[in-house]
């Protein structure tokens, strides 16, 4: 019945009223909607403040945390229970799991696991670490996250990126990284394997870094990019240098 400023998918929800931003929702606007249920994604510490405030006003708030596909599917099922649409949620999870299984089977037939780096933000570089959905997306798509940091995000210097020598370089584009330069326009990263081979792509932040059903699209898209030899069921649009998309790499 309402959304935050940043929510724009699916397109039909843009008609709904906005209650502020995801980091600082306007409590008054939330209460004005007289909600039966408020869903919130667990994140940074400040995010729990509005939850406390809403609970104090007697609003039911369910807080979810999804850092793996298993957790994501459990969240979808629980939201199904809370909203009285258990069957739809179950069907959705089954469908997503089936698609992941297809990719798993195709990837297990391939050899070679390219070292990938997922750029969360630049130029003041932040890369995806080992904990979080991006790491699992890379693994399921037949790659290895070359950032060894156990945290969700890792701050890296350019020198460290060169030392890690990623063979595939993924640059997310979205609110966290509004105007990243393509890899071939970054002279100091010209010697990394991904730049030499041209295996560098822009990807959609919403698809990779926001937990949701679209993370499965991300796995399909990335699997086709990292392992073009598999017959790809990918529906996602890859924005490679060589593709005919208008997206300029």
């Amino acid at each position: 019945m309402a959304r935050t400023n940043a929510d724009s998918l699916p397109a039909s929800i843009t008609r709904l009223p906005v209650i502020g931003t995801h980091m600082r929702p306007n409590i008054e606007a939330v209460l004005a909607q007289r909600p039966d249920l408020v869903l919130q994604m667990a994140g940074r510490k400040e995010a729990s403040l509005p939850v406390e405030a809403l609970r104090k006003h007697g609003v039911r708030v369910a807080v979810f945390h999804a850092a793996t596909f298993a957790e994501l599917f459990s969240v979808i099922r629980r939201v199904g229970v809370l909203t009285g649409s258990t069957a739809q949620a179950e069907a959705m999870v089954r469908g997503l799991e089936a698609r992941l299984a297809v990719i798993d089977a195709r990837i297990s037939a391939t050899t070679g696991r390219p070292k990938a780096l997922f750029e969360v933000r630049s130029p003041n570089m932040l890369a995806a670490g080992q904990s979080g959905l991006v790491d699992e997306i890379i693994r399921r798509a037949g790659g290895v996250n070359c950032v060894a940091d156990a945290a969700k995000f890792s701050r890296l210097s350019e020198e460290e990126v060169i030392r890690l020598a990623p063979e595939a370089y993924l640059i997310q584009r979205g609110p966290m990284n509004p105007a990243p330069l393509p890899l071939n326009e970054r002279p100091r990263l010209r010697a990394i394997p991904a730049a030499v081979s041209g295996k560098a792509w822009f990807v959609d932040e919403q698809k990779y870094s926001r937990p949701g059903p679209r993370n499965v699209d991300a796995v399909e898209e990335l699997a086709a990019l990292l392992h073009p030899e598999i017959k790809s069921p990918a529906k996602g649009r890859a924005t490679t240098k060589h593709s005919k998309n208008k997206d300029k790499q």
């Binding site: 600082r24 003041n124 210097s157 460290e160 030392r163 105007a179 990243p180 010209r190």
Partner: protein, 377 residues
């Protein structure tokens, strides 16, 4: 020289001390520059580092250099050494001038709103997305006919926004100072300092406004304001160097007048100095220096404060020696601060260099103050 023989002997000793100190700092800078090119998270032996540096100079040594190592040593480390040294030199010189002109031992680029202006300019650039990447590139393309495009180059428009912010802030401070300077139109230093504080405070409120308008940019703005050389390269050196050179030339040319101004305005007038005009030129020179420094590196504190104070103890207060000595030592200090910033954390993460200078500079400044108080007692 009309002084007696004893005086001239003392002056000779003085001169020798000054020359000794300056050559010491020069030598240390050179050695540090080369050593710093060998330090970082990418593994490299001293021989490999030297080899890569020599190759960049066009000296062929026969041994092939790993292209990745060559990028790391030359394009990243050497560029950062050069940029850190230049920035440190500019900040220390500017601090020295601000302290002399305003006769305020705590004055630096923050006092006159120059840093605040640059930070505001950078925040606008980050918020509108012209700071880096495609939007900036497109804008540069559109401005192709102007020299601005070539000037910004691959560094993006952020440094230009920051520089423009710095100069606009200074302009506002000078205008305010002039307006408040009474019917004669002259500026007095109290008015200038007050105007600087007013402008700084207003600008920091504007930065807070920008941050609260766009939560996604907060971390970028905060990181920029803390000051860092991460991701900087020779394009930033090329961008800052002309402004720094002009600024340095201006303040060195007026160094003698700075000595007179430091005596106080009345004394300076008695000695035949047009105090208002020389103050204006010196402030413009120092603002070019600090504006260019802040534009490429973000806000870095304490260098402009600690270095001139330390050097006054060893080379004296004469600005013709103090200014070049400050430049050299400021460069050396920031060079090593940046090496610490990029190598102290494990896992290839970096500290903002502004944090390092504050952590090193704060306690050091306290020591200096303590020493001075004991000296006076």
């Amino acid at each position: 020289m009309t002084t007696g023989a004893r005086d001239s002997r003392a002056q000779g000793r003085d001169l020798r001390t000054k020359v000794l100190w300056i050559s010491l700092i020069c030598a240390a800078s050179l050695v540090s520059g080369i050593v710093a090119c060998g330090l970082g998270s990418f593994p490299s032996t001293p021989a490999q580092t030297l080899n890569a540096l020599l190759q960049a100079l066009g000296v062929r040594s026969g041994q092939p250099v790993d292209p990745a190592l060559s990028v790391v040593v030359v394009d990243i480390r050497l560029a950062r050494v050069a940029l850190a040294w230049l920035t440190g030199a500019a900040l220390a010189t500017a601090g020295c001038v601000f302290q002399g002109v305003l006769r305020n031992p705590l004055a630096d680029a923050f006092t006159l709103g120059v840093s605040g202006g640059a930070a505001f300019g950078a925040s606008v650039a980050i918020l509108t997305g012209v700071g880096s990447g495609l939007a900036g590139g497109a804008l540069v393309d559109n401005l192709g006919g102007l020299s601005l495009g070539g000037l910004a180059g691959s560094a993006g428009l952020l440094p230009l926004f920051a520089l423009a912010g710095a100069l606009l802030a200074l302009g506002a401070v000078l205008a305010l100072g002039r307006a408040g300077g009474g019917p004669s139109g002259g500026m007095n230093r109290e008015t200038l300092v007050l105007a600087g504080i007013v402008v700084s405070t207003f600008l920091s409120a504007l930065i807070s406004l920008l941050k609260s308008l766009d939560e996604e940019s907060v971390s970028s703005i905060v990181f920029w304001i803390m000051g860092s050389f991460q991701g900087r390269g020779f394009e930033h050196v090329r961008l800052a160097l002309p402004y720094m050179a002009v600024g340095l030339g201006l303040v060195l040319w007026r160094a003698r007048e700075l000595d007179l101004l430091a005596l106080g305005e009345g004394q300076a007038r008695l000695l035949g100095l047009n105090a208002g005009r020389s103050r204006l030129w010196l402030l413009i020179g120092a603002s070019l220096l600090s504006g260019a420094a802040v534009a490429v590196s973000g806000v870095i504190g304490f260098v402009g404060l600690v270095v001139p104070h330390l050097l006054r103890l060893v080379v004296g207060a004469g600005h013709r020696t103090l200014l070049p000595a400050s430049a050299l030592l400021g460069g050396l200090l920031l060079l090593w601060s940046d090496v610490l910033a990029r190598s102290i954390l494990p896992g290839g993460a970096e500290l903002p260099v502004g944090v390092v200078t504050a952590l090193v500079g704060g306690p050091f400044f306290c020591l200096l103050l303590g020493k001075r108080f004991r000296g006076q007692a």
